[in-house]
Amino acid sequence: MTNAARLFRENNIIFVTLACCLVFFLISPRFASLDNMSAISRQIVPIGLIALGQFFVVVSGNIDLSMGMASVFFSIVLGVFFGMTGGVAWGIVAVIAGSVAMGVFNGTLVAKLKLPAFIVTLSTLFMATGLSGLIIPRGQQIFLIGPFFRYIGAEKYFGIYASFLFLAALFILAYVVYNHTRIGSYIIAIGNNEENAKLSGINVNAVKIGIFAFSGLCSGLAGIILSARMGFVQPGLDGNGLLMDGIAAIIIGGTLILGGRGTIGGAFWGLIFIGVINNSLNLLNVEDVWHLVFKGVVIIAALAMNWVLWESRQVQTH
């Protein structure tokens, strides 16, 4: 394989994203305006947190379906604490503790009891949906107004949203952990073959529980960002849409859904790609009914492209 071909194969999503940006720019020059770029950077933060948490889960050969509705649930936890105390400190403590606890719960059932992650997290998805409405008095909405929410929702440094800088920092941290510590290789080993990983002395259960604890934490953080950006919380936000965008981002970024392969950089570019697509569907006034068709085709195209580029590595379904 020539160098150029390898460069393309390994970074295809970057080229595809840039090509899309160019097309959108030609159709609507406003696309490339600084304002619009920063709008995109802000819109992708909750999706990015979900994609990052999901990334490790998927590389380990599992899936966390609860992440979307859990982030809605935790945004409401923050709202309820804010409504009771008028401050955010206790709410944030509760969200972080609660989201990690939920992740540990998912992880323990998956790791220790060997239940399929799909079923465990499907049931926590249902439970999070139900609890969102039950912990808020009569399902009403709560307004979140204050310096903290304004900071998370709108503060900028050097023209870049603080929330996006936070996300970028988390991605860099994840990159270091994934590529330069043993934890990363453990996760890949588990995703490739759990039995072998166990035989080679990896504490598989602990790693798995840790992975789910992290995806839980990411849901909680996404909840905090969501609530701050909306300025109010309300059960029944479309958390599953966030989940789907998050999964699509990492798959488009070349992560193998069956586990064992994926790069943080790819996940990041996949996220940018999803953000660009979401933004331009609105910006170009694409008729509403076509949005879903478009997304479906994009995911299938990404899958097909991954198949062409990585064909030999694909093994078994599900």
């Binding site: 406003r30 305006s33 304002d35 619009n36 709008a39 802000r42 819109q43 409504g83 409405g133 008095p137 009569r138 399902g139 009403q140 909405q141 307004f143 304004r150 929702g153 709108a154 950006r229 909306m230 300025g231 109010f232 309300q234 059960p235 029944g236 936000l237 479309d238 849409g241 979401n278 933004n279 609105n282 910006l283 006034n285 509403d288 009914v289």
Partner: protein, 342 residues
């Protein structure tokens, strides 16, 4: 905060009413309301109003009971819920049909079982009653308010309902009607459906603010769109005027000195209370119009109303001032409580 005081006041009010009312045991009345959803802010207020009203009427007259069901947007589920409810045989059913044609055969079945069927929002020929909103008129009033309150040369973005939804389309038609009275002064620069969804409304608002640096106003066919849009405009430091539709308490509270210029006073709370009052009146044998029109005035501050009148806003459009509107929206019993039927 306001939720708590509301609950306390409601309790106090119902207690007062109960002591004053004759507690004679009537023929019992059971009410079921089948709605298409339960999560939008308007729906929440609506279902809460219904629950409170049922409790208040039961306390005042005895024998009043009922509950609501949510089809969560699914027609199949709504049909199942209607069939099951008909089999239960309540006295009055309110149905906010997702698709009116699909329910025609079920109306006959309900009437056979002696149940009074009230079609909600979209009128139905064979229903015993239809509870309607006057969407076109209300939309027109919103459009007229924009004409009277926005300076010439203003630009407006309109957030629409789900494509194909009759209520959303009627409101849209009305808004354009109203705006046509000041043709040329106000330009509609964008129109986009946000599917009654707050998150979609948020993305759209974000994009509009970057796309149209001079945007003057945002109009919505539901107040649900204004919650995120107001937050976005505030955090971007932009001065946008908002025109709402629904009479949600949190939105109308942002009128005095706030960015909300006008709203249509439906108010979910009021509608829930009105349902119970209507069911009670049907049950005791009052004669009601086949098409029962919900009273839905326009809401503005007094100051804005004077300004609008000076700018040629028609004097015959009924307007509630903010404080009065907030009061009736929070306390549904003021207009539709047990006192109103004695």
């Amino acid at each position: 905060m306001s939720v708590k005081t509301l609950a306390m006041k409601t309790v106090a009010a119902t207690a007062l009413l109960a002591t004053g009312a004759m507690a004679d045991a009537h023929d019992p009345l059971e009410i079921v309301f089948i709605n298409d959803g339960h999560v939008a802010p308007y729906h929440v207020a609506w279902l809460t109003g219904l629950e409170d009203a049922i409790a208040a009427y039961d306390e005042a007259f005895g024998g009043v009971s009922g509950h609501w069901l949510s089809a969560e947007g699914s027609l199949e589920r709504m049909i199942q819920q209607v069939e099951t409810t008909i089999n239960e045989g309540p006295d009055v059913m309110f149905v906010n049909a997702i698709n009116t044609e699909a329910f025609e055969p079920l109306i006959a079945q309900a009437q056979e079982a002696g149940i009074v069927w009230v079609a909600v929002h979209s009128p139905m020929e064979s229903a015993d009653y239809s509870f309607t909103l006057g969407d076109v008129t209300n939309g027109t009033n919103q459009g007229l308010a924009m004409c009277a309150l926005l300076p010439a040369g203003s630009t407006v973005g309109i957030m629409l309902g789900q494509a194909g939804n009759p209520s959303g389309e009627a409101r849209h038609e009305g808004i354009l009607n109203g705006l046509s009275t000041c043709e040329g002064d106000i330009e509609v620069v964008a129109e986009q459906p946000a599917d009654w969804d707050t998150v979609r409304a948020q993305s759209i608002a974000e994009n509009w603010l970057t796309q149209f640096p001079d945007l003057t106003a945002i109009s919505g066919v539901t107040d649900a769109y204004l919650y995120p849009s107001i937050a976005i405009a505030q955090s971007a430091g932009r001065d946008i005027a908002f025109f709402g539709y629904d009479g949600d308490v949190p939105i109308m509270s942002q009128m005095n000195g706030g960015p909300v210029m006008a709203d249509i006073l439906l108010s979910g709370t009021r509608e829930g209370w009105n349902f119970v009052q209507m069911a009670y009146r049907i049950h005791r044998g009052d004669e009601l119009e086949h098409l029962y029109d919900f009273f839905t005035p326009l809401v503005m501050t007094e100051e804005n109303h004077q300004r609008a009148l000076a700018n040629g806003f028609p004097a015959d459009v009924q307007v509630y001032y903010t404080d009065a509107a907030l009061e009736v929206a929070e306390f549904g019993y003021l207009e539709f409580g047990p006192d109103s039927v004695q």
